[in-house]
Amino acid sequence: MSDGLRLPCAGPRAARVPRIAAFVIVIASSASAASCATVKPSEREVLSRPEMDPSSEKHEEEFHAHYESSRQGSFGGHGAAGGGCGCG
């Protein structure tokens, strides 16, 4: 396998950063494109149900974050942005 494209200082960690940046850019671009869509207040009946509301699980998320911090080396994933349903 050729190393022609690898920069002299680029190790595995250096290669990881652009990959993460690309991931964030792709996701953010998709979200930006989708954000043109709006849902009228009269169409938000389904969105206002508890099972569609991320904030309805905040107590459970706090407990999960607590035990995960004692068993995993990672963090995050419990602060999902709410809203979107316009029902708050």
């Binding site: 996701i27 954000s35 508890p50 068993r71 080396g73 990672s74 994933g77 942005a81």
Partner: protein, 406 residues
């Protein structure tokens, strides 16, 4: 001072506190139907693994004063942690296999204000146990966009903790000074630990965006960043049976994550939810988490949620598997922390929520209008090629919650 109590006593204390609160609620809540957002939630959490059991009852109250323009909330949590020793794997330090139960108290106060599409919030939280004191505060702001189809949110929180270590021989606590503390290297005092600091700081930032893509689809993205500075080792664990752990003094963590919730067409009583989280940090810990959930509305008042979560993690770059020990004599960083090793977990879970609205038709129970009861169970199955390092076995998480408006 570390309390050495019988777990059963702590359990009965927690149950008595919950029971007393329910009695008070029944007495003070009037016999009328209410629709306000003011709400009280009681939750009993239970966690059990091979060497540790945790009972964590919580109470949370939120009130609009007088409406959503100013909301005040507060919570109290009691953590009753029982383990075979102060730190699993450090029985030698604590003198054998006696069961220790330690209590942690946590209280939090929060405020929120909603004004013309903007929401502002803040909190302060204080937590105390025999060998750890934590003070944290946070600020957040969010803005509704695109005719309330989207919400952009920003949050910051900082915590300032004091890490102590218990000396069983002296029955006291002293500040824990990390072997990695940079002040030690330049210290000229006879006892270099006097130059160190036991303050552990954390600065956390979160930017998120949630959007209703369709009348049945809600999706969101979050980026979480955390900077930690201070002693980050468990003072009670030993490496190769003799040395203190030495973790890097700073840590930078980065966790982008995304979610989608979709009420299935022609079967809108079923909601499909998918979450994904990537985590990387400058300690070399890389992890992926996928979490798939199905929410079923079985009946008008009954909801069922099934869950499966998969987690995989690469070990920290200074972790050496137990089978390849000991650490080199010149190693500056050393760990025996299981959560810094390489492992995977599978977690299935089930949750049942019963809305109590039908009971509110009966005289004397009208205060149950808007109330619900929720039972949750998750079981964690770890998988690892390094069972000597990640020695946590299966774990069970259960919780029972009761929430009522007032």
């Amino acid at each position: 001072m570390r309390l050495r109590l019988d777990l059963a006593r702590a359990s009965w204390l927690a149950l008595a506190a919950v029971g007393l609160t329910l009695l008070v609620l029944a007495a003070i809540l009037p016999g009328r139907a209410v629709r306000a957002e003011d709400r009280i939630t009681l939750q009993g959490n239970y966690f059990r693994e091979a060497s540790t059991r945790v009972l964590a009852p919580t109470i949370d109250i939120e009130m609009d004063l007088p409406d959503e323009r100013f909301t005040l909330g507060g919570s109290y949590l009691l953590d009753a942690v029982s383990s075979a020793s102060i730190a699993a794997g450090a029985a030698a330090v604590t003198g054998g296999d006696a069961v220790f139960t330690e209590l942690r108290h946590q209280a939090a106060l929060r405020v929120r204000s909603k004004l013309d599409g903007w929401t502002f919030g803040g909190f302060f939280r204080y937590s105390s146990e025999s060998d750890y004191i934590s003070r944290a505060f946070g600020l957040n702001v969010s803005r509704e966009l695109f005719e309330k189809s989207g919400t952009l949110s920003l949050a910051y929180s900082g915590s300032f903790d004091r890490v102590l270590v218990i000396r069983p021989s002296f029955r006291d606590t002293v500040p824990w000074i990390s072997p990695s503390d940079p002040a030690i290297a330049t210290c000229e005092a006879e006892d270099p630990t006097t130059c160190g600091n036991n303050l552990l700081q954390s600065h956390y930032f979160n930017v998120g965006y949630g959007h209703a893509l369709h009348r049945t689809v809600l999706a969101g993205l979050n980026l979480e960043v955390q900077y930690i500075h201070g002693p980050q080792e468990n003072p009670y664990r030993r490496v190769d049976g003799a040395f203190f752990q030495a973790h890097p003094y700073t840590r930078r963590r980065f966790a982008p994550n995304a979610f989608i919730r979709w009420a299935l067409p022609r079967a809108e009583f079923i909601v499909f939810e998918q979450r994904y989280r990537l985590h990387v940090d400058d300690w070399g810990v890389l992890s992926h988490t996928t979490d798939t959930r199905l929410h079923f509305r079985i009946a008008k008042i009954l909801r069922l949620r099934l869950r499966y979560s998969f987690y995989t993690q690469k070990g920290a770059n200074f972790w050496i598997p137990m089978t390849e020990r000991p650490y080199p004599a010149d190693a500056e960083l050393m760990t025996s922390d299981p959560k810094l090793s390489a492992f995977m977990t599978h977690t299935p879970g089930i949750q049942l929520t019963v809305e109590l609205k039908p009971l509110a038709r009966f005289r004397g129970l009208r205060w149950l209008d808007g109330a619900w009861v929720q039972a949750t169970y998750n079981h964690i199955f770890p998988v690892t090629d390094h069972p000597l390092d990640y020695y946590y076995g299966n774990a069970r998480l259960g919780s029972l919650a009761f929430s009522v408006p007032f």
